[in-house]
Amino acid sequence: MEIELKEIRDFLASIPPFDRLPMPLVEKLTHETSIRYIRRGLPLPPVDVTQDRLYLIRKGALSLQSTQGKLLGKLSEGDICTVFCMSGNHDKFIVDVEEDTLVYTIPCEILYEIVHDHPTVADFIRKTASQRLKDAVNTMMNEAALTSPLMHTSTQELMHSPVVSVAAGSSIYDAARSMADNGISSLMITDNDKPVGIVTNSDILQRCVAARLSTDSPIDDIMTKKMLSVTSDSSAYDTLMIMTRKHIHHLPVIDDGRLSGIITVTDLIRQEGRNSAYLTSAIRKADSIGALIEYSATIPQLQLQLVKMGGTSEHVGKGITAVATAITCRLIELAEAELGPAPLPYAWVAAGSQARREQTSHSDQDNGLIISNELSDKERPWFEALARYVCDGLDACGYVYCPGHIMATNPKWRQTESVWRNYFNTWINQPEPEALMHSSIFFDLRTIHGDKSLLERIRKEMLQQTRKSTLFLAHLTTNAMKLRPPLGFFRDFVLIHDGEHNDTLDLKHNGIAPIVDLARIYALTEGISEVNTAKRLKQAAGSASLSKEGSANLLDALIFIGTLRTQHQAKQITNGLDIDNFMSPVEISRLEREHLKDAFKVIQTMQATLERRR
């Protein structure tokens, strides 16, 4: 390549996925590049180009439409157009060249040849939005692991020791008996104290029960003999990597041929949550609202720490919510100490993000009280005082009063079990779109304190009804469709679905909320009692309303957008700013933009699927 073409080379090198290629390969690509000028109104690919080609927009603007004329996205300077890399696509898209456009173009065949040793580059171009998103999430997880405190913890600190074991030659029955008695899911087999094999629950299930092998057979017949193992001084991180890579959940720890312990994936994962665990236990011991206010002031720092430790949005949500829940519980305990014991059984319930365990540092409060049906006017003042005490306390701790008055201080949401049942009956059986929009938050409820059975009974009845109520589900769907993800980005704007532009991307309403809404609908359709979005998606996977693939794709989108949000907020915390959900496209890297577009696409696809079903 002539060095004079350096500017073109540098341009190519700045565009994902070529930004991950070594310079000599980018130079090869530059050599194979051609420049075209497409006049406004003329087609892309140009009529004389029949081969599959990649196009990079150097200057100008074009919009991508479906054959029905629906806007799919817009491309401008620095955007990459991969749709014409597949010959099957040529008549599936219409490109409207909106401004005279200068494009760099490379024949795909040559491109694939050049990047042959860099499969992720070819994958980026060839894969679908959801496949690409999955890769991005995997990379994000791997990077997260690198900053994990597990790097600095030895396996010895987390392993179980002494190890439960049976001697080689014991029967499968004896081994299973020992596992059941000790409440463990894996068992070591030793010969004269030397470890010779391992069996797990699933080995017994698959190699014995499912294979109709007698439980009198020796355990040696079904144990795994070629065991991987680690030494007790290896880092917990390396141990986790071995287990992740080999898809194993139990690993013996062996030093000099002697069995020192056993370690499970759960032991390793639990370790990561230690910091919020420390704060919650301190909160549980706080003796005044003043102390709680002090602890709550550290929540942004906790969020920052969780992000720094490599936590995804799921970790952060769980950690932050655990603290909110601890504060709520402690406030209730302090209230009870002041007001005297509760006159009747009740449940303090959280609604919305706290219920779903998806809070970020300072979400506002959404809560209510479900009180035993025996409630009479005599006990009402006690519950009112409790509500006042706790809600005021939460507000003082930074969980500001809910602007929609969804709080236990509102008499409407401080009611007996039967009144709550009636609420749900009305919402489900006489649904009105407007009313339903405001009440959807109540379909995500969790007991924070008190008698769990109150809410569980209501939920059980509610789920029996939602499954059958097509009108209710239809209204819920209609409401959910009001929040649509954007199409992508156009220059430094967010491209909204109707072709309009926005200056900022609202990660919550344009990304996370639509997924939360979808997951709620799947759960209510399938009678799933879980409220956490990720768990709802996992449990609904493979059901009539949600395919396994759709579930996996939405989980990827959730974790990608959610983690982008927690990272954005971590930056704000570091800079001493109040946190929000708004990102300017200028702050979003080219690669993140590509992945966000993929995530939006996944959400759009699932919304469209749901709409078609109604």
């Binding site: 004079e4 050599h31 194979e32 051609s34 006049r39 200068l102």
Partner: protein
């Protein structure tokens, strides 16, 4: 004008008979594109020279850059840049403008080698330049020096295309509006920072695309309407 254009092919054939064996003869033996062809169908070579000054008599070619346009696209693979060995020390201003130092110059090739490569690349093509006077006069002088004759080169000049366009308007314009990089800005083409023969040739090729897009109706103009 038509008469003049027929003259190109006729003059090529005439020169071919007189040309000495070698690069010039080979260049002249390939017919030029027909003048009634559409410009998006003809092979073009965008060319730029960096010189020590404006006079082909006193000054010398410092470097030659060229890049081909075929099937309506600029092929980067065809790009070529050559630094010429010149006599004497370079003036400081040339070093600054063209970023060619004496060191680079000594590693360069002879004018003959460079011109022969250019003639080979140019065979059967139309030469595309911005402000033809420089490239035309320096190339003619080099041929005269090397082969004892000046052949014919069909040339498209992006400056002339722009000038014709501006002349059509009744408003006066500043001559600086005709500069390559001013025109590129006008057509919203990307800014290239480098200033040397190859990147200027590339800049000219892109500008030509933009000019053709502006001037043409449904199909691109005929070669004769843009030839110098």
């Amino acid at each position: 004008m038509l008469h003049h254009l027929f003259g190109y092919e006729a003059k090529r054939k005439r020169s071919l008979r007189k040309a000495p064996d070698g690069a010039l003869k080979e260049f002249l033996s390939v017919p030029f594109p027909a003048v009634q062809e559409r410009v998006d169908n003809i092979p073009i070579l965008a060319v730029d020279f960096e010189t020590t000054g404006l006079s082909p008599v006193k000054d010398q070619i410092l470097s030659i850059g060229y890049i081909g346009i075929e099937n309506n696209e600029i092929r980067l693979a065809s790009a070529c840049h050559k630094v010429i060995q010149t006599r004497g020390k370079l003036a400081e201003e040339n070093v600054v403008i063209h970023q060619i130092t004496d060191d680079a110059k000594f590693q360069g090739e002879s004018l003959q080698d460079a011109v022969e490569d250019l003639l080979q690349a140019l065979a059967g093509k139309v030469m595309l330049v911005h402000y033809a006077r420089i490239e035309k006069s320096f190339l003619e002088k080099a041929c005269l020096q090397l082969y004892g004759m000046t052949p014919v080169f069909p040339i498209i000049d992006t400056l002339m295309i722009a000038k014709r366009r501006l002349d059509k308007r009744s408003v006066a314009y500043d001559p600086s509006e005709l500069r390559l990089f001013t025109l590129r800005d006008r057509y919203a083409l990307p800014r290239y920072n480098a200033h040397n023969a190859l990147s200027d040739a590339l800049a000219t090729a892109e500008l030509f695309f933009a000019e053709v897009a502006k001037m043409s109706g449904r199909s691109s103009p005929a070669l004769k309407s843009v030839l110098l």
